[in-house]
Amino acid sequence: MSESILLSDSDDEALEPAVQQLDGWRLERVMSAELANAVAARPGVRAVVVSATDPTLLRMVVERAHGCGVAVIVSCADDTARRRAVELKVEEWYRCPADAGEIAQRIRGAVGRGSPKAQALEDRAERVEYEQMLHDSLTGLPTLPVMIERSRNLFKERGELVVLYLNFVRYSKIEEIYGWEKLDAVLETTAAAVREFLDDTALSTSRLMVSFTNDDDFIFFHVPAAGVAAATDNEITEMVARLQRHVGGRIEAQHGEDIAALFDIYVGRAHVYYNPKIRLERLIYRGIREAANAARSIEERERGRRVADLRSSLRDRAVYVDYHPIVVAETEEIFGYEALARGVMRSLRSPEVMFDVAAEADLVWELSRLCRARAIEGIETRLQPHHLLFLNVDPHDFSDPAFNENEVKYPERVVIEITERTAIKDYPKFRERLRIFRERGFRFAVDDAGSGYAGLGSIANLEPDFIKLDISLINAIDTNFIKQNLVETMVKFSNDHGAKVIAEGVERAEEFKTVKDLGVHLVQGFFLHRPLRLPLPPIAEPAKR
């Protein structure tokens, strides 16, 4: 292959080492005035770095270079130069002084991009898109096709490869509850923790590679080093246990207990042996499928165990309740508490998990009854007389004959939260039930409002006293003006309908300030209070921040 030439009029000393970082490149310096001619005259020129500030000269170089498919990089001394460079649609620019690494990267980028004359814009746009498919932008991990390419030779050489499939269960749940931005953040934490873990893992005699499947699963390739046996089942089980602790710890530290309680990994494993008759990609994909199936069957087994856990929890009434304060935005005084039921058993700690398991085992009503009873116990023992109790009730619970308007002693102190997410089948009948409860003195809140595309129409139908905004609208609301606009709309709507808006999931001071400024009446979230946990002194006012 012939050498590529980088032409430049710059006397920047960093250029030389930059060119050395590129493979098969040579630097040739010429005077600024000769640059335009040299670009066209010399064969082998693939890129030109221009430092001249004269706009006419720069335009000439760009036109000439683009005429013969040479990439242009402008070394900009100031903002004017940069602006001019961008306007002339050069391939790349950098601010002077730049280090050799950056310059090399810019040259590489410019050459990769090609001149707009030689290649259609469409190609360039596509390239931007394709590059993103190679590495996941969130986690920085390579995607599967990239990893297969990288392990191809190693796999051939060693003859075997172990695929580990890490199924991070319930990440989809995180997205459902908190929105995609939260899951993105959790995945980022996960990837960082996984990488950290790999850096000091004991399987160092072999090669471990990690890939991210763009959903919520991770794939490890483990290629044993020459002459060393592949990791045994025991080693892998042990490694997975450590990985689970490590990642779980990180997630709890950065995203709190509620999210960490949802976290679980199931790992499946498959051993793949090289076979020259079979296409290598197929071998690997089959291995991945096998490992994924193995992970799934572990998950199944685990699910069976959880159902058993739930049955015994119901028998022993092993559910406790956290009371999460809801405060008045203006005064930060406590307005009421949301009751959050949790399983005593570790496997059922998260209410979402607990109710999922109940749904699978047809135990939703029983579990709901227990959680309600536990939560209501707290009205007398935990709450002050002027505090309201916010109680989560699934719309299906209204069909439970055991749930009726006379179940509660102080209906006027109870706000029933109904999630917007559950589809209500028989609307007229449901509204009739609501009316009966309302007459007894209960109040209603629409939970997760604005989570879907439905907008405000369906909320108006329920005539709620409170509207609880979906967490995904509150998360990072201070930086997103569309969210602010949506919440503003919601506040206006509530004011028109005599309801109060509650923002839940307020975790940062900026979020608190933003929702307060937007006129949100009530606020709930870790920024103000953590949930109160038993045992507590009875009727204790929680400590202020």
């Binding site: 360039r124 898109e129 993103q132 590495h135 595309y453 997103n480 003006f481």
Partner: protein
């Protein structure tokens, strides 16, 4: 390829001589204006350029993506309705960009009057929107608050 070159060349002088007294325009971050309607794009460019912003214009989604890495804009004003790659698709790709995706602020230029549209915009990662038909002062204010936000987040 460069039908506006001379116009552009002439106009570059305007901010530096006109607003030169503020001295601030040299540090204003670059903006990428994407609109398939040349007149619209030109109006926005003129209005913002006089305010000292370095403006690059793209007339299609493809051109916007092709210019994205070179311009490295702080803010992208993105028309939604474009032939070929529409604004949503461009926004999604930009927001997923490995190095620039985190910092770029994308303002959708469209009438997002329905709840559903705004929810869609959020899902795709947009930061703000300007309702169409827009008036220029609102547009400038929107650009400004997003630049302020971008700088606050960068520091």
């Amino acid at each position: 390829m460069y039908p506006n070159t001379c116009v552009v060349g002439a106009r570059v002088v305007v901010p530096s001589s006109n607003v030169g007294s503020t001295m601030k325009n040299e540090t204003l971050p670059p903006i990428l204006v994407v609109d398939d309607n040349h007149d619209n794009a030109e109006i926005i460019r003129q209005y913002l350029e006089i305010r000292g912003y370095p403006i690059t214009v793209a007339h299609s989604g493809d051109e916007a993506l092709a210019l994205f890495e070179t311009v490295r804009p702080a803010v992208v004003l993105l028309d939604v309705m474009m032939p070929g790659r529409d604004g949503w698709e461009v926004c999604r790709v930009m927001k997923q960009h490995a190095t620039l995706g985190r910092t770029v602020r994308v303002i959708m230029v469209t009438a997002l009057d329905e709840w559903q549209d705004k929810r869609e915009a959020l899902q795709i990662g947009a930061d703000d929107y300007v309702e169409k038909p827009f008036d220029l002062p609102t547009l400038a204010a929107t650009v400004q608050r997003n630049i302020a936000m971008q700088q606050a987040m960068a520091s």
